[in-house]
Assembly symmetry: C2
Homo-oligomer: 207 residues x 2
């Protein structure tokens, strides 16, 4: 079984390879990849071996070949339709975030339950009432959902997304979603990032 | 040197301990902590040993003692003032995010350069012009900053925050900030979370 951390690091390698490719380099060593990622070279080699045989010992990796291979392994070689539930402050920031579009994640459906928002256009898409979310997700065959509603609504909207056929959820609401097995939930807690900062600053007696 | 991953996991242990404490339990074993965190018990014990001697072998850990110790190690036992630069969609979502307040992170200054926003009150704080950011941060002795401006503005605002005395930055803008040594930058890339989802869904041939 591949450790979750190795999967997370694939994103980092892909991002670094893109920077190296754009700079015009065609090969890269595991120690250079490691240095740019703040890891050790053995960790980079160990991670990549989980996903296939890349590069030649002593010669490093072909940048565009490795980038394309990682992109395909992560399923990012094609457009991925996404449904967003909750078009408030956070939802609007996610809608206009270029980072999602650049990687092929296209928000195709937006749901809310606020009469002031339902029916309005956002980024070329009409916000629909969350009551219709299951049927629309089914029609559009969307498999990935983002929840940016208040916690009080998150479980009920998750149930509707799953009923419509969603299999993976990026959840921003600070509650533990109960989902059937086979459904993948990735939770985001930005506060843990600030906690990291606080730890390092207290260690240096700055805080 | 303590691995970054072990520091990140401290946040997870703290969150789980709080849930256990609220449920009325007074002790917890490393295997129960591990199960709730999706880790193995040896990893939990190894992580905690980096930070001190907790618990008694065979008896587990005292929940409130361990929770208080981790909170203090992370510098979260006191209020931490934060400066926010960029009061757009993402900035507004971060301003109203209860998760920051619950952990003692209090946004005390907000900066923007949009004349429509400067001077307006948000969550009881007046949005100030980013031109005055250094002097206000200095006066309020703020050490932690959040950047939620467009990439084009992120480096120049980072320089102003650092000039004012900020030592740790949570950066949402998708650019690599160049900062003097001693300044800690934690970058957030929510797209990497969607990439994780995509990897697991393609492995199951759902995407
Ligand atoms: N995890 C993190 O790090 C993080 C950071 C910021 C915000 N948040 C969370 O994200 C969520 C959204 O935050 P926000 O600042 O955008 O709040 P917001 O109030 O601005 O937006 C919430 C939106 O959800 C809509 N909504 C409510 N019930 C709904 C339902 N049943 N179906 C569909 N839409 C519904 C509302 O009408 C509103 O448009 C909150 O749960 C907040 O705690 C999390
Ligand atoms: N990392 C992630 O996962 C993620 C997710 C969503 C958004 N983002 C990023 O967050 C940033 C903000 O996104 P948004 O949707 O809130 O954009 P937005 O346009 O709604 O908000 C940006 C705000 O910054 C202000 N601003 C511009 N120049 C400034 C300056 N020099 N000083 C102070 N304020 C200034 C603008 O006036 C505006 O209020 C963008 O860089 C976006 O790419 C990142």
């Amino acid at each position: 079984k591949i450790p979750k951390r190795s999967v997370e690091r694939l994103s980092i390698y892909k991002r670094i390879l893109k920077v190296i490719m754009d700079a015009g380099f065609t090969t890269v060593s595991s120690s250079e990849l490691a240095e740019r990622a703040g890891l050790n070279p053995a960790q980079v080699r160990k991670d990549l071996v989980y996903f296939g045989q890349f590069g030649t010992p002593g010669m490093g990796y072909q940048v565009s070949t490795l980038h394309r291979a990682i992109t395909r392994i992560m399923g990012l070689h094609k457009k991925i339709p996404v449904a967003l539930a909750g078009a408030g402050n956070l939802g609007q920031a996610l809608l206009s975030y270029q980072g999602f579009k650049d990687r092929g994640f296209i928000i195709e459906s937006i749901f809310d339950n606020d009469p002031e928002k339902v029916g309005k256009m956002k980024n070329g898409i009409k916000i629909r009432n969350e009551k219709n979310s299951s049927s629309e997700i089914k029609d559009k065959k969307i498999k990935v959902g983002i929840i940016s509603t208040p916690s009080s609504a998150a479980q009920s909207i998750a149930n509707k997304l799953i009923e419509g056929g969603i299999k993976g959820i990026l959840n921003f609401a600070p509650i533990e979603l109960k989902v059937p097995s086979g459904i993948i939930v990735v939770n985001v807690a930005l506060c843990e990032k600030l906690e990291m900062l606080s730890y390092y600053l207290s260690k240096r007696k700055i805080l």
